[in-house]
Amino acid sequence: MAFLKIRNLSKHFIQQDKKELEVLKDINLEINNKEFVTLIGPSGCGKSTLLNILAGLITPDTGKVLLNNRIIPGPGKDRVMVFQEAALFPWLTVIENVMFGLKINNIDKNTAYEKALKQLKAVHLANFKDSLPHQLSGGMKQRVAIARALVMDPDILLMDEPFGALDEQTRLILQKELIDIWLDTQKTIIFVTHNIREAVKLSDRIVVLGTNPGYIIDEIKIDLPHPRERENPYLVKLENRILKLLQNQMNTVGVYDEAVYA
């Protein structure tokens, strides 16, 4: 029983030069409850667009998204998104940022404060609760953004390259924290990354996307418990397999481009 169903989804954009750009074509995907699914694919293949559609921030041209067999009606707090740039509200302190979503949903101030503080502890930032976003490092900002999403207790966490702008060390730490939180809270996570190693380390399933227009090339299931060793030969093999798929993709796109522009 799939929990989130994506049916025959297509989306195009009108470019600056008035030309149509087909971004997603006939995407079909089913995601189970509590599953950690990663979308990986070349830049511009429509990963963010797909995530934005799932969040309800963009409406598709055709097709539909069903959550528990109901069409999603637009943005909602059951599907909270974490962006590549932390997108914190600069005028609010760290804890006020985390409380924001609760307060707009009419949760009283004290309860909101308690929940936010607890969530900040979970991402190891309780000591910075009264800091302002611009006083934090990139990794800390991203942690606040994750706390701000988690505190809403959404059914689905949508994460668009949340660690993309971070250095390797911070990235590794946050990956571990995310897995701990995921094991702990049993959320459904849909995660976008460019980083193949990150994908095999975190996911239950990896959806490899091709481009022009975006479509699903392959889906790879990974049945390994956490924590996963990065040297695990099985994971290394998977990494290589995904790399090949993406390289093929690049090549075909490259050849296509040459044919067009020759």
């Binding site: 934005n52 969040a55 309800g56 921030l57 943005p75 909602g76 707090k77 599907r79 909270v80 998104m81 962006f83 740039e85 997108a87 509200f89 600069p90 005028w91 924001f100 979503g101 707009i104 949903n105 302002l132 976003p133 611009h134 006083q135 701000r148 999403a149 809403m152 949508l158």
Partner: protein, 253 residues
């Protein structure tokens, strides 16, 4: 800080010395070119007998009223422009044109409509401060980062909350800058208005000094107008603006 202060004091002393030397050289008649001491006496007399205090009070009453109206009206109009493409295209260019009109130009119109009274002066103050506020508030609202709006939307925010909790606070830095500039514009407009209008403000004392041929009074009032403009900007608006920019993480340091 201290060094800055000393430099400024040194500059003022320099000006006074040059002024005094020019006075001693006796190039111009005394009634056209008073000495620093004469001006200082006029200033202290004016404060002692209450004329200046009263004039500043009268000017500020008009200023605050006109300024408040222009801030509120300007912000509302700015919001309207920022939230409606058609309205923006319709009236946007006219706002820019209106902003480029020096406020003294409105005076003949105001005098004809409202005759020589408070209303005429205040309406000139309003016209002086409003357009800048419209421009700054609409710019602020249009420049809110889309990602902040999307972040709020995925947390389930509704339209009204989105305006009050995200769009408005995100544009506060622009609003503060607008308020600061509008204050300066209103202050200038007020002085222009008072020169010709009637009553008991600073501008009117200035004109009265001219009519009486009292150069010392004229210079005193000019000094007052400059000082008040500087002090309010530097100690009220600048401080406030710095605080906001600091909080928003926008101060470049």
């Amino acid at each position: 800080m201290m060094k800055q202060f000393m430099l400024r004091v040194a500059f003022i002393l320099f000006i006074i010395v040059v002024w005094q030397i020019l006075f001693i050289l006796n190039i111009w008649p005394e009634f056209l070119f008073p000495s620093p001491l004469m001006v200082a006496n006029t200033l202290s007399d004016g404060f002692k007998d209450g004329t200046f205090i009263q004039a500043i009070g009268a000017s500020f009453r008009r200023l605050l009223l006109g300024y408040l109206i222009s801030i509120i009206f300007g912000t509302l109009l700015g919001i309207l422009i920022a939230s409606n493409k058609i309205i923006e295209e319709m009236i946007g260019p006219f706002i820019l044109a209106l902003q480029s009109i020096p406020s003294i130009v409105w005076l003949p119109l105001a005098l004809l409509w409202f005759s020589l009274g408070e209303t005429a002066i205040i309406s000139v103050v309003v016209l002086g401060g409003t357009w800048n506020m419209v421009i700054n508030s609409s710019t602020g609202i249009k420049n809110v980062q889309p990602i902040l709006i999307r972040a709020a939307q995925t947390m389930g925010i509704n339209k009204i909350q989105l305006f009050w909790k995200v769009i408005l606070p995100a544009s506060i830095p622009h609003l503060i800058t607008g308020m600061r500039l509008s204050w300066a514009f209103s202050w200038r407009a007020l002085m222009a208005g008072e020169l010709i209008g009637s009553g008991d403000g600073l501008g009117q004392i200035l004109m009265w000094g001219r009519d009486m041929g009292n150069m010392s009074l004229v210079i005193s009032v000019i000094l007052l107008i400059g000082s008040i403009g500087y002090l309010t900007d530097n100690f009220i608006f600048k401080k406030f603006e710095d605080k906001v920019l600091n909080r928003w993480g926008l101060d470049v340091k």
